[in-house]
Symmetry: C2
DNA sequence: CGCAACTTTGAGTGAATTCAAGTATTGTGG
DNA sequence: CCACAATACTTGAATTCACTCAAAGTTGCG
């Protein structure tokens, strides 16, 4: 699938990282010690891939889901006209392609936008979990419905003007990265090109550039050199009409 | 919740209709006789509502999912500016708010765009199913992931120009309505206003009107009087670059 | 150091919007 | 059955937002 990358069994630090990310998932819902172990045991090999790697090719049968350990991964449609539409962005801690448990094939590519490290969870193992652990199953199901909620939000945001779209995206990334400790209230690393941002917001890279300048001039957000700086997160959220409720980051009463 | 509508236990024709719609669901995956009965047994009362009824209000706790028997239902965000964004359209046979099993609250409204008839499936019953029937659970999960796949497609389509968006929507509705016998290759009833279509495609009603005229003049689709006529479905699909794969309408090998 | 990829800025174009007015179409009470 | 209101649809004109095309400036990497 991936060329030139080798799969490795998880080392001690890998396991520690996996556990840490599972803890992030646990912010969504409490797990018993046994459930935590069962979930961790579904994850087998780990691989590191360079930027641009196609993790899942459209119309290809999928046999495993993936826990993203490091890097940024996009779901993208490549139109015959050459233009690219990014419909979702995955961050470290995201469980990718969990929906592939029920949808064996996708009509789009899943691509690493930056160098990334991913851990695979074979469907075989996950399938077994769904047959023996109803509560864990509901958690996995929950994660896929949160993805759907993000999709809906993106659709709604695409109705706004350019500045609103970009600002909303910056807010969403701040909130999601903060969940896994990769952002604070004032800044975070965003190693994406303006072209990437353009394909996520449905704009051209030229217009994204102008929009970022406007946001900088109005002191709402400073995006430069792969770093996002936010002087006042509440001001930015107000401008973008961002309400993090749709991310369901608080613990769900199960 | 709904004003002036009364809930009624399903009558004989209702049961027949429910069974028919479950059969449509079965095009997705085979069910055993027992599973079919268990699924049907989760559905209790039925109610008819007039156009404009808010079936689920944003930020309200949800205690039941819904099988849509008749009518068109939209998921919509009402922006403070007064503008409305429709992120999904539900058709007869759709199982609504299945995701509310894991997401107790939504940030948007669910509204009947036309008079509608809905049957409710209490979470309590569905929850019990998820704890005893792994295969049925996977089918329900599957239905929510198909919703997510449709959302992704909508996001991608919003990157196209107006004519493409409208044409794609017409194609999607034709395919989905055909699944439940409400469309054939050449026409179907679409009792929505141009304003509704505008809020689904992210356009203004004025521009939807102009776009529909263009589609009519180029002989791709004739939308008038609540009726959609398609001289050549392949031509329209080609123009819209519509590929029904994302609807996952063929049976999934479980 | 030099190439490649990305970013920035300018000028002109075009698609979709807003504003505005007028025409069906539908439903309702007299 | 008609007059009237309300809603939906249609068309025109002017404007705006975002795009395309083009070129210069940066940055990073081999």
């Amino acid at each position: 699938m991936a060329t030139g990358t080798s799969r490795v069994d998880p080392g001690p630090q890998d396991v520690a990282q996996i556990i840490r990310l599972i803890c992030a998932i646990e912010r969504r819902d409490a797990l018993s010690q046994e459930e935590r172990e069962v979930l961790a045991s579904t994850i087998s090999s780990i691989r590191a891939v360079p930027a641009g790697t196609v993790l899942v090719r459209a119309h290809q049968t999928i046999n495993e889901s993936t826990l993203l350990l490091e890097g940024f991964v996009a779901r993208q449609y490549d139109q015959p006209t050459g233009q690219r539409e990014i419909t979702a962005l995955h961050l470290p801690g995201d469980f990718l392609d969990l929906h592939s448990l029920t949808l064996k094939e996708l009509d789009h590519d899943v691509v690493a936008l930056t160098p990334a490290r991913v851990a695979s969870a074979p469907h075989e193992c996950l399938r077994r979990v769904t047959e023996t652990h109803p509560h864990l199953t509901r958690l996995l199901w929950f994660l896929t419905t949160v993805d759907a909620a993000m999709h809906r939000q993106w659709i709604a945001v695409l109705g706004q003007a350019a500045a609103g779209r970009v600002a909303h995206l910056l807010c969403e990334l701040q909130a999601r990265l903060a969940l896994v400790g990769l952002a604070n209230e004032h800044e975070y690393a965003l190693p994406l090109t303006q072209m990437d941002l353009a394909d996520m917001t449905g704009l051209t890279s030229v217009h994204v550039n102008r929009t970022l300048r406007k946001l900088r001039e109005s002191n709402l957000a400073d995006v430069r050199g792969g770093q996002v700086k936010i002087p006042d997160i509440h001001a930015l959220r107000g401008f973008a009409e961002f309400d993090p409720a749709y991310l369901y980051m608080r613990r769900q009463p199960s």
